[in-house]
């Protein structure tokens, strides 16, 4: 699963800890998602969509490639 979380977070100048606080998970979870090592649950994906004000299909793309930064 490819995602654009790192880029969207960088655009807002949030740290991983900032984003983690906003959606109620640990910073390590954000790091694992950004690096493509963990695919979040549907509810967490929707929470990410909420804080970035985008539908989840704009955050995640199905495929073998890793995320933006990796």
């Amino acid at each position: 699963m490819r995602n654009h979380i790192r880029l969207l977070r960088a655009e807002r100048r949030w740290s991983q800890a900032d984003l983690a606080d906003r959606i109620g998970v640990s910073r390590q979870t954000i790091n694992a998602i950004e690096n493509g090592r963990y695919d979040p649950s549907l509810s967490l994906a929707f929470r990410l969509g909420e804080v970035f004000e985008r539908p989840i299909e704009r955050l995640f793309e199905y495929g073998d490639e890793a995320s933006d930064a990796s």
Binding site: S15, S26, Q28, P40
Partner: protein
């Protein structure tokens, strides 16, 4: 420095490996971690106190009662605290915790089975510890069967809760 480079600053992933290795949890940096640590240490103190009292030469009825009750209650409380802690973790931490628990359970079952086989095949004399006809036969195999039966019941319970 572009946006993505800046996003990497201060964002290196770091799990609290010291707490994970020494205490088996994700550290006291979160409220749930602190609660779990405090509860566990408090009940460990009760456990150690009871274990200390049990070493006394002559125990009164009340001291014996304290030891008999405090130890299982403390163990149950620590297990309960661990279950509460897992339920309060975020989804990735919970997944990792459960994977580690499943791995350790499986590893212990395999080791116990190997130990039992060593005893049953007459190799027990080369292995320090319980003999095949005593402790191994009495405890190891029934413990394996009990653990597997409990695992089956737990699977049924959690599967039914998500019908």
């Amino acid at each position: 420095m572009n946006l993505l480079d800046r996003a990497d600053v201060d964002d290196q992933s770091s799990w609290p490996y010291r707490d994970i290795l020494l205490f088996g949890y994700f550290g006291s940096g979160t409220p749930e971690g602190r609660r779990h640590r405090n509860r566990t240490f408090a009940w460990l103190a009760v456990f150690m106190g009871a274990a200390l009292v049990a070493t006394f030469d002559s125990l009164s009825w009340s001291e014996r009662f304290f030891c008999g009750v405090a130890v299982p209650v403390a163990v149950a409380a620590i297990v309960w605290s661990s279950v509460r802690y897992v339920s309060e973790l975020d989804e990735l931490s919970r997944l990792i915790y459960l994977q580690a628990t499943a791995f350790s359970y499986g590893a212990v079952v395999v080791l116990a089975g190997m130990w039992f086989s060593a005893g049953a095949l007459g190799l027990a004399e080369h292995i320090p510890g319980p003999h095949a006809r005593s402790t191994l036969a009495v405890w190891v195999l029934p413990s394996l069967l009990l653990a597997e039966a409990l695992r089956g019941l737990a699977l049924v319970h959690f599967a039914r809760s998500r019908r």
